[in-house]
């Protein structure tokens, strides 16, 4: 469901001024040229060297020419598909698509609230919840299954998610071998790697070890996914004052440099492969040293990062809708709303982390139901308003005149459903609210969560594919 292609009236919010963009760009060039980025991987270093980059040890220094030439080959938009091969998201321009997060070690039981280690069931339940919620457009396998061998956890994560939902899937992997296995399974679903390339329903994340460094295994994964010709997401997670400067502009520079350096390598390996750099620049909380994901600064930095990648004409990855609250509460709602609204208005393209609580440590299913509602309200705002003869309604105003009412007019009937409405938002007066059970929003969210768990059935995979995947999973038990 696009945010903006459907609305020519969408407002676009700019966190950075044109001067700010230019200064960040100049600083990015200086860091690439004078500071460099570490790529501790023989093959990657050879590729950079061959392309004319200066390589010292595992450090790569990149010139403006190499940067501009490489990223000019990257597509300025990526279209993703559903598991069934239907177009699902146009990731580019100032379109925004919200998705979830992955790899939380713990989960809350949706009925008792008990916090336990995550299992395959955590992933399956979360996948079904997100499949059922219309405003969550893509998702990740949520939860690290604690009951399977840790070296195979990434295969189980992909499998449990992909059999329980149809939406575009970002599946984290831990090793190059894990990524190869997951791509093989995704290709089975798509009917071959070529089909998967043409209609990608699957992507994965290449995460730098901030600041300015990619790990050896991560680079190996980058090589695998670039050669497979699938879209690549770069997810930088700097923490202000910890792994990046305490300032927002300096942290945007780190995020952009890491993303661009990774994107250049992908273009050198497979020119034209889609890249989506960015990430979730957070703040380090200087009382606890925990990463702040619900902070106002996160939304500000993601908005600025989106502007920077639009400047480079490549789509951006972002983060929003996350909270440090341990449960779905007021803090959670405030933190998620701020960043979802901000990043949608700023046009960050592929935004992850929605429904995160406990800074990605615990899966809470009710959080997804909450953020689905927040995104619905945001959609309404981000679509803007049309101003034309129809919406100005002069003839109608003239017809009704002073003191009349508009309730019974066809114009009202035609347009009132454009307004945001929700069964989770109570707008009754006091007595009406008491008569309907005096439930607060969290009560309604929990009811909806339970309803989905008990009633929603995702589209099944075709039998032959389901059997083949199950057979492929046998070696990972």
């Amino acid at each position: 469901m696009p945010f903006k292609t459907s609305s020519p009236h969408a407002p676009l919010f700019a966190m950075l001024t044109p001067e700010g963009i230019e200064r960040i760009h100049l600083s990015v060039l200086k860091v690439l040229r004078e500071v460099g980025v570490d790529f501790p991987h023989e093959e990657a270093l050879a590729i950079f060297k061959k392309a004319g980059a200066t390589v010292e040890g595992s450090r790569v220094f990149i010139s403006e020419d190499l940067l501009m030439e490489s990223i000019s080959k990257a597509p300025n938009a990526v279209t993703f598909y559903t598991r069934e091969g239907e177009p699902s998201m146009y990731v580019g321009d100032s379109e925004t698509h919200f998705g979830t997060y992955g790899t939380a070690p713990y989960a809350y039981d949706p009925y008792t609230g008990e916090r336990t280690l995550a299992t395959r069931k955590t992933i399956a339940d979360a996948a079904r919840i997100c499949d059922a919620l219309p405003n969550i457009e893509w998702s990740m396998p949520m939860g690290v299954p604690s009951e399977v061998p840790v070296s195979y956890a990434d295969r189980h994560q992909f499998y449990q998610a992909v059999i329980n939902q149809s939406k575009t899937l970002y599946s984290s992997t831990y090793t190059a071998a894990g990524l190869e296995d997951v791509i093989e399974m995704a290709a089975v679903i798509a009917g071959g790697l070529e089909n998967l390339q043409k209609k990608p329903f699957f992507t994965t994340g290449i995460n730098p070890s901030t600041p300015l460094r990619y790990g050896n295994e991560v680079i190996a994964k980058l090589l695998v996914v670039a050669r497979a010709g699938l879209p690549i997401v770069y997810n930088s997670d700097p923490m202000t004052g910890g792994t990046s400067p305490a300032t927002l502009a300096g942290t945007i520079v780190i995020t952009v440099v890491e993303g661009l350096a990774g994107a250049i390598l992908a273009q050198l390996i497979n020119p034209g492969v889609p890249v989506i750099p960015g990430g979730g620049p957070g703040t380090m909380d200087m009382l606890t040293t925990v990463v702040g994901l619900g902070t106002p600064e996160l939304g500000m930095m993601v908005s600025g990062t989106a502007q920077m990648f639009r400047y480079y004409k490549i789509p951006s990855y972002g983060a929003a809708g996350a909270s440090n609250s341990k449960v779905v509460d007021l803090q959670c709602a405030i933190e998620a709303t701020n960043s979802i609204l901000l990043t949608a208005l700023a046009g960050s393209n592929m935004v992850h982390c929605i429904g995160t609580i406990d800074a990605c440590m615990t899966v809470g299913l009710d959080a997804f139901v909450l953020v689905d509602e927040i995104i619905a309200t945001t959609r309404r705002i981000a679509a803007g308003m049309a101003v034309d003869d129809e919406t100005l309604a002069f003839d109608l105003i003239k017809k009704i005149g002073p003191g009349g009412h508009f309730l019974e007019e066809n114009h009202t009937l035609k347009h009132f459903r454009e307004h945001h409405k929700s069964k989770l938002i109570d707008r009754q007066n006091y007595d009406g609210w008491v008569m309907s059970g005096a439930k607060d929003m969290h009560d309604l969210i929990v009811e909806k969560t339970h309803w989905i768990l008990e009633n929603y059935r995702p589209k099944p995979l075709p039998d032959d594919i389901a059997q083949k995947l199950a057979w492929m999973m046998k070696k990972f038990e």
């Binding site: 009202t412 009937l413 459903r417 006091y430 007595d431």
Partner: protein, 213 residues
């Protein structure tokens, strides 16, 4: 026969006035009894509207166009129905009390009542106790419905009830009150028979006061 009646119910639900009236004419030509058209067509469609409205799938403007289709259908059927079988939910007199010019809530209750088959008189806004009293005397309604938006004007409701008592008219009607500042407790305190927090529930309360449901 059930096909065309179901179609009438569906088209009423969709608020298609012209289609509903032409289907009713077709049904009459096919020899279907007006009573059956009323109950299995119009009323059945309106029940569906009411159910979906209560669970939040349908909204006020949609209920109002469905009600408009209901009226158009009733205009055709009324002359053909015997007195006993006519859809007669009850008669109301409605108004916003003296000193208060707020119209929309009162109008909404009126439209919803009519959608449920009530008929009656709208006295408008800024209605004096005397005007309420005269209307009751002349029209002999089952329900007197009053609305107020202001805390300063809602006290007028009490004056109206007292005026009806003084004129020995109180026992002949049920009194329904509503409006933003009005509560169940206030309704009891001033001796009203019913209170509803919103227009949809006003219909339920009106029907239960008259023992219709």
């Amino acid at each position: 026969m059930t096909d065309i009646l179901n179609l009438i119910a569906d088209k009423l639900y969709e608020g298609e006035v012209d289609t509903v009236t032409s289907l009713i004419k077709d049904a009459l030509q096919q020899g279907i009894l007006p009573e059956d058209i009323l109950h299995s067509g119009l009323m059945s469609g309106m029940d569906h509207v009411g159910r979906d409205f209560k669970c939040g799938d349908l909204y006020v403007p949609e209920v109002l166009v469905a009600a408009r289709a209901m009226h158009a259908g009733m205009d055709l059927l009324r002359p053909l129905l015997s007195q006993t079988s006519a859809a007669y939910s009850g008669k109301y007199v409605i108004g916003t009390v003296k000193g208060d010019l707020h119209d929309i809530g009162k109008s909404l209750v009126k439209l919803m009542l009519e959608g449920a088959g009530f008929t009656g008189i709208d006295l408008g806004t800024d209605v004096t106790p005397e005007a309420f009293m005269n209307a009751v005397r002349e029209n002999k309604p089952d329900i007197v419905a009053m609305s107020a938006l202001l805390t300063t004007t809602m006290t007028e409701m009490k004056n109206i009830i007292e005026a009806l008592e003084d004129a020995n008219l109180r026992q002949s009607v049920k009194i329904l009150v509503g409006g933003a500042p009005v509560t169940q407790a206030y309704a009891q305190e001033i001796g009203a028979d019913g209170y509803a927090p919103d227009a949809a529930r006003a219909v339920d309360v009106a029907q239960s006061l008259l023992g219709n449901r």
